[in-house]
Symmetry: C2
Amino acid sequence: MKKVKIYITLKQGVLDPQGKAVQDSLQTLGYDGVKEARVGKYMELTVEDGENVEKKVEDMCAKLLANPVIEDYEYTIEEGVTQ
Amino acid sequence: MKKVKIYITLKQGVLDPQGKAVQDSLQTLGYDGVKEARVGKYMELTVEDGENVEKKVEDMCAKLLANPVIEDYEYTIEEGVTQ
């Protein structure tokens, strides 16, 4: 089994109202050192060993998990995870 | 400026319907090697340099960003980011 960790973020320049809300809430709580907050998604997949796992993960991100028009994604693949 | 990256995941054993939906959708698309999917949140904060940044980030996570009853969080702090 492989553990795939996927990080999805909004592209630079795309408005992030959820991030703005987080920043405002942090400032209300007194954390005024926070100058920007951006919120994205984090996914962990447990994937069977096999051929072309990296290619498949790339496809999954582009087709389903992220919206390539407004989002960037990165992933890491860790080998040898026991389920 | 420091860049803080926060990863929030549901604790082991907490039901993750969004992750289940992702897994089902991936299987529908033919990616049947995916045995589990769990969805979390990823946040990037830009924080001013100052004292006790790590302590403040820990507090922000526990008080606002994560729900410690059902979620775990991890974070990394990168130094010297230009805004």
